[in-house]
């Protein structure tokens, strides 16, 4: 049961220190695990960072690397979750020539149907932003690619878990020791 390769989302709550990214990525690199996406930001707690990392591994591997993350001094807590256990999305940005908006009326329909948002428009180009699942962003990219995309970028996955994360309680427990 543990041997099937699946997509896991790893969440790591950490102190906000220089060099921690290196320490975390080294754990993947040493085990020859490719990182599909990595995002780091402030978490819900002031001064605590959260890494959200997507990897394709077995559950047995996931359990073992969680142990390695937890072992790092500045890691407060690490978890792994399956896709079903999280709510997640990505964000894509598209830079497109403004002429196309007027010369290719279809583009306006594509924008409307995809629920993409226009971030800015000027004479030369306009910028679209689309948040959602990977396949939705990919589908929009394929549709727009027919007309030409000047620039495209997609973010890593961001996700929150359905279960409660008791990081605040954990930190309070330390303070009350």
């Amino acid at each position: 049961m543990n041997e099937e390769i699946k997509s896991f989302t790893i969440s790591i709550y950490t102190e906000n220190n220089i060099g921690l990214l290196n320490r975390i990525s080294a754990i993947f690199q040493r085990r020859h695990i490719n990182i599909e996406s990595l995002t780091t930001s402030q978490s819900e707690i002031e001064g605590v960072n959260r890494f959200v990392i997507v990897v394709n591994i077995t559950e047995a591997q996931a359990q073992k690397i969680i142990g390695q993350f937890q072992k790092q001094i500045e890691v407060i807590r690490a978890y792994y979750h399956t896709e079903e256990e999280t709510i997640f999305q990505e964000s894509g940005m598209f830079k497109i020539k403004s002429d196309l908006l007027f010369n290719e009326p279809q583009i306006q329909n594509i924008i409307k149907e995809s629920n993409a948002r226009i971030v800015t428009v000027n004479k030369e180009f306009f910028v679209l932003e689309k948040s959602g699942r990977r396949n939705e962003i990919e589908s929009l990219r394929r549709d727009l690619n027919i007309f030409g995309i000047m620039q495209f970028v997609r973010s890593g996955r961001i996700s929150v878990t359905k279960e409660e994360m008791k990081i605040t309680e954990m930190l309070l427990a330390f303070n009350n020791q």
Partner: protein, 577 residues
């Protein structure tokens, strides 16, 4: 320290004073009871060395001949004493030369604090002279590391460094300090670190799991203990002894666990692993309950995991949660410090003797004795064996010496045949297998425990990897005893070439210098032994010496170490020849 003095110390330390960063570094070291450190000066650490000069009556800096020697000496210091070893180096090559020792300390859980100088902060990232990204380089091999760029950070960071190095599962910490932080001033006040909010050093022992473990052990017909260094690091030797004496369970050790229980103890059934004893390896695959205490199921211990103790229920006593289920699945895992866990376990265990089960170990020992041990310790052929040298050292030291071994054939022989009466007596590079470890580690060990006899057992290969440390031994007058077992080969590699590469001896033959002359060049007295009849007297002379002494023993060139579990084979497939 009694409470009154402790309070006074705290008072003195908590007073604020305006000093430089480099003086603060020395004061932090003194506050952490560091009286010896090992290192090598250079540009980016010079302000600290200037302070070391001023504080030379309080803190003894040992100038090694290479930074790798400093790291290994600090390891030897830590391993024999249980204290934190301290090594210091300059930036760039000084720092990178520490890395092998740091990696060794990481895999063997040795508490070290390494302090490196760094180029001034405004030059960071400019490829300045002797700048190297030592934080990046040391990240995978340190328990924790940190770069200090402001003098004011020094006390807190160093307090944290000592706390992290020593607590929980110990390990090496590297603190990189820029030169401007050393020159800068701060309001100095030192408070020892007592906790870090993101770090749980020792998980609490769970009583339910201890009960589950006791139930399995009490019901077991053929239980076997394998203990590792966790028993020594957790200072649980007495507790382990009480457990095995009450239950009569045969107990084996990994190379890192050696000496925690005296060799002569009747329940001590020897070493597990690639060159361990026949009985405990074979019977690992016969026991019904395998009780692992403070060990991590290294591949040199388990051989092929697919065929390792599959018939047994496994109980794993372990301080580091990441080790549980890493290599071997544990039916019961007891997290926590080995001393606490074994203390909880003892009253729940039934008395037993396991007589018939013991007989199985004795029978297999008899086979090993006939096929291997007899020829190692009582050879009838002309050439000297490494085993008989160890046997003679045992006799003359009465088992009281601390044995510091390097890596290779002589190491396996030293670990197999040394007789230990006291804990923390087997100092060797276990996990990393670092040739060159023993000579500098012996320096650190002898300085940390001057009352003990420290004998370094080294091969002719490893000896030449850090031979320059003879200079340190001479300058510091460290009375270590150095035994080089010279077979003019990189013996272990040659053994593999013989067994697995059809005797193609690629680059394993050594044309060696006159080692005794070299020792004498450093004013270290020494002797070369080539005949059996000279051996006992030579060892006697060495042991009687009040100073450092060098003994070269020319042993049989192409002897092999057996038993042997071929790489990747099962522990049951252990070979006797």
């Amino acid at each position: 320290m009694n409470t009154e003095t402790a309070n006074k110390t705290r008072e003195v330390l908590s007073k604020t004073e305006r000093i430089t960063g480099s003086e603060a570094i020395i004061k932090c070291l003194i506050a952490e009871d560091v009286d010896i450190l090992y290192g090598y000066p250079g540009g980016a650490i010079m302000p600290v060395y200037d302070e070391l000069y001023k504080f030379r009556n309080k803190i003894h800096h040992v100038l090694t001949r290479h930074e790798q020697g400093a790291a290994h000496a600090a390891q030897g210091f830590a391993r024999i004493s249980g204290r934190v070893g301290v090594a210091m180096a300059t930036s760039g090559p000084g720092a990178t030369n520490l890395i092998t020792g740091i990696a060794d300390a990481q895999i063997d859980s040795t508490p070290l604090v390494c302090i490196t100088g760094q180029v001034p902060s405004h030059l960071l990232g400019t490829d300045a002279f002797q700048e190297t990204d030592i934080i990046g380089i040391s990240t995978p091999v340190t328990k924790w590391n940190h770069q200090v760029t402001k003098a004011s950070e020094i006390p807190e960071v160093l307090a944290k460094a000592f706390y992290i190095a020593k607590s929980g599962r110990p390990g090496p910490v590297l603190i990189d300090i820029t030169k401007d932080a050393q020159f800068g001033e701060l309001d100095f006040k030192y408070e020892k670190c007592t906790g870090v909010r993101s770090y749980i050093p020792t998980p609490k022992t769970n009583l339910e799991s201890v009960k589950a473990a006791a139930k399995l052990i009490n019901a077991a017909k053929k239980p076997m203990i394998v203990w590792g260094q966790g028993v020594i690091l957790g200072e649980a030797e007495e507790q382990l002894k009480a457990v095995i004496e009450k239950t009569g369970i045969p107990a084996a050790w990994t190379i890192m666990g050696a000496s925690a229980i005296p060799t002569s103890h009747p329940l001590n059934i020897g070493m597990v692993g690639m060159h361990g004893n026949y009985a405990p390896n074979k019977l690992t695959n016969e026991c019904d309950v395998l009780i692992a205490i403070g060990m991590r199921f290294d591949d040199r211990v388990t051989g092929s995991l697919d065929t390792y103790a599959k018939q047994a229920k496994v109980i794993h006593f372990e301080i580091d949660p990441a080790e549980v289920n890493k290599n071997v699945y544990a039916d019961v895992a007891v997290l926590g410090n080995s001393k606490d866990s074994l203390t909880e376990l003892l009253p729940l265990l039934n008395e037993n003797s396991h007589g018939a089960w013991h007989q199985e170990f004795k029978d297999l020992y008899a086979i090993e004795f006939e096929k291997v041990i007899k020829d190692d310790l009582h050879p009838t052929k002309e050439g000297l064996t490494m085993g008989e040298v160890l046997k003679e050292i045992n006799v003359q030291s009465k088992g009281d010496a601390a044995i510091v071994s390097d890596v290779g054939q002589h190491q396996m022989i030293a670990c197999r045949y040394s007789e230990f009466n006291k804990t923390k007596s087997n100092i060797t590079s276990g996990g990393l297998g670092t040739m060159g470890f023993a000579l500098p580690a012996a320096i650190g060990a002898k300085m940390a425990a001057p009352e003990r006899e420290v004998v370094a057992i080294i091969g002719d290969g490893g000896y030449q990897m850090n031979i320059q440390e003879l200079g340190t031994i001479f300058q510091q007058k460290v009375p270590v005893k150095i035994v080089v077992l010279n077979n003019e080969f990189l013996g272990m590699v040659r053994q593999w070439q013989q067994l697995f590469f059809d005797k193609r001896y690629a680059s394993t033959e050594m044309t060696n210098p006159d080692f005794v002359t070299i020792a004498k060049g450093y004013h270290i007295d020494g002797k070369r032994v080539t005949k059996r009849e000279e051996l006992a007297d030579a060892i006697k002379e060495m042991m009687a010496s009040k100073e450092s002494y060098f003994l070269e023993v020319c042993v049989e060139k192409e002897d092999n170490v057996f038993p042997m579990i071929p790489s990747g084979a099962s522990v049951s497939d252990i070979r006797l020849s």
